[in-house]
């Protein structure tokens, strides 16, 4: 088996998931200059809800496709409601406050979401029911499962859809206008509160999809998973250039690849001293490196003048 190709495949899958989550961070940052640190927990809730629905319906005799679709719809609805409420409760009242204030409420919301999840689902790891067909395909000496193919395709489609929405629709123009200059956007008749709410809701829907993907791909979910995943996706957003949509996609995929390749070779590189379970360190090397050498991220283009 070819480790290199295999890790590229794993990296693409992981990277697609990071990218979906990173988009949530970057859209919110782009529109209100705020880092929604509770976003990782929204992914976790999405994963938990989806997994619970799949569990409940696993023996119902419904076709697998329908089960997944229902789970996804349920997760998306719950996450969208949470995203909407988080903005209303934790951020909107603080829009004119010091930048640190919403950061603190974000941490507060994270803790609340995590502990609510702990109360609802307990501290244990939950296994994703094995309802998905375990078909694997050989490709260049590596294997890729149908699930992995589906993850990459669906993530790609969602990102393409988001790009079209943002760049080619009336709503997307209003979103960009709000991010460039909210006051002027209002003068044009844009209700910026609605646009901001919609941004949170869209980001949360992407988070729900990502949550289902993570739990299905790793066959596991638990109440604490949002923390690390959120940090990684945030890193991906910073790597691409926070506030930049294409940057979040690029940063997500790159980070996934870096992690997967790092995990694949870290044993060889350190003479067996560090094993693949150290893969998490790569994200943080990347974050520190970006912050030191290129704080504006890879696609940090900004027409800076607010003429």
């Amino acid at each position: 088996m070819d480790i290199f190709i295999q890790q590229i495949i794993n990296g693409l899958v992981l990277g697609s998931i990071y990218a979906l989550v990173a988009l949530g961070y970057t859209m919110v940052y782009g529109i209100m200059g705020l880092i929604n640190f509770a976003h990782g927990e929204v992914v976790m809730i999405g994963a938990m809800v989806a997994l619970s629905v799949v569990k409940a319906l696993a023996a119902s005799g419904l076709p697998v496709f329908a089960v997944i679709l229902i789970a996804l719809a349920a997760a998306a609805l719950v996450c969208m409601a949470i995203g909407f409420s988080v903005e209303r409760i934790a951020y909107r009242p603080l829009r004119r406050a010091h930048k640190l204030a919403p950061l603190i409420t974000a941490i507060g919301i994270s803790i609340i979401l995590q502990h609510t999840a702990m109360l609802v689902w307990g501290r244990n790891y939950h296994a994703f029911p094995p309802i998905l067909p375990a078909s694997a395909h050989e490709i260049f000496g590596a294997t890729i499962t149908s699930l992995q193919v589906a993850i990459v395709l669906i993530a790609g489609l969602m990102m393409a859809g988001l790009m079209v929405l943002i760049n080619h629709t009336r709503f997307g123009r209003a979103m960009r206008a709000t991010s460039e200059n909210p006051q002027i956007a209002q003068l044009m008749g844009v209700d910026i509160n609605k646009i901001i709410s919609a941004t949170f809701v869209i980001g949360s829907a992407l988070a729900a999809v990502a949550g289902l993907m993570v739990s299905a791909n790793y066959s596991i979910a638990h109440y604490y998973m949002g923390f690390m995943l959120g940090l990684k996706a945030f890193t991906a957003a910073v790597l691409g250039g926070i506030g930049n949509i294409a940057g979040a996609v690029l940063g997500g995929i790159l980070l996934g690849l870096i992690e997967a390749l790092g995990a694949g070779y870290i044993g060889d590189l350190t003479g067996g001293f560090l094993g693949s379970h150290y893969q998490d360190i790569f994200a943080f090397f990347v974050l520190i490196g970006v912050l030191i050498f290129r704080p504006s991220g890879l696609i940090g283009e900004r027409v800076s003048e607010r003429a």
Partner: protein
């Protein structure tokens, strides 16, 4: 059409506008002139609901607008060309114009008005897909005016359209403003360039340290010795 009474604007403890009264009649072009820091922009921002007035009332077509949320002004028929132009730098000219028409849904009308703006400002047409942030100051001013026209306003508020522009560009911009006014648009023009503003308008108000100190026919103000001394450098 526009009736401002006792309007006050304060920033913290600083009173920028101290209870001013003025009005603009339907179809009129009215100039509001004054030196730097007189409170002109503050007045306009309060009218456009970009900041909360500390007191007073602004009636537009008989209705109080100081309690409207800012995004509803444009559908009421008020458009502002802000100080410093305020174009969206990372959007193209066409997208900026589309944003101007955000409150409208009649796609055919929007398309026609876009062509109308292009006919007023051919420079914009040549650069239709260029990012607004890369335009020159004069081109940005054209875009800001064009964008405001895209909402088909009844009342156009202009904040120092001549600021920072070369004389030839100022002339070009004012030709368009006058043409638009001739077609029946009601215009409130704020300017530091008092001579120019009084030459194109019918009536004028002079603002000093947050208060209106002088008003009258623009022609008469141009002849007024105090105005000549303070604003026309004589």
């Amino acid at each position: 059409m526009l009736e401002v009474t006792g309007l006050r604007v304060a920033y913290g403890g600083i009173q920028a506008v101290r209870g001013i009264n003025f009005h603009v009649n339907q179809g009129e072009m009215v100039a509001l002139i004054g030196a730097n820091g007189a409170g002109k922009t503050s007045t306009l921002k309060a009218l456009a609901r970009l900041l909360n007035a500390a007191g007073g009332s602004v009636r537009y077509c008989g209705k109080e607008i100081l309690n409207l949320p800012p995004h509803q002004l444009v559908s009421a028929g008020i458009a502002l060309v802000p100080e410093g132009r305020g174009v969206f730098p990372r959007m193209s000219i066409v997208e900026n114009l589309q944003m101007g028409a955000y409150s409208r849904r009649d796609n055919d009308g929007i398309e026609a008005d876009k062509e109308h703006v292009f006919s007023l400002f051919p420079r914009l047409k040549e650069r239709a897909f260029q990012l607004a942030g890369t335009l020159s100051g004069g081109e940005q001013q054209m875009l800001a005016i064009g964008r405001a026209l895209m909402s088909r306003p009844k009342l156009l508020l202009l904040d120092e359209p001549s600021m920072g522009l070369a004389p030839l560009m100022v002339q070009k911009i004012f030709e368009v403003i006058c043409a638009v006014a001739k077609e029946g648009m009601t215009v409130l023009l704020i300017e530091q360039n008092a001579k120019l503003a009084l030459e194109v308008s019918q009536r004028g108000y002079v603002m000093e340290s947050g208060e209106i100190t002088l008003t009258g026919e623009s022609g008469a103000l141009l002849e007024d010795p105090k105005v000549r001394a303070a604003y026309l450098g004589e």
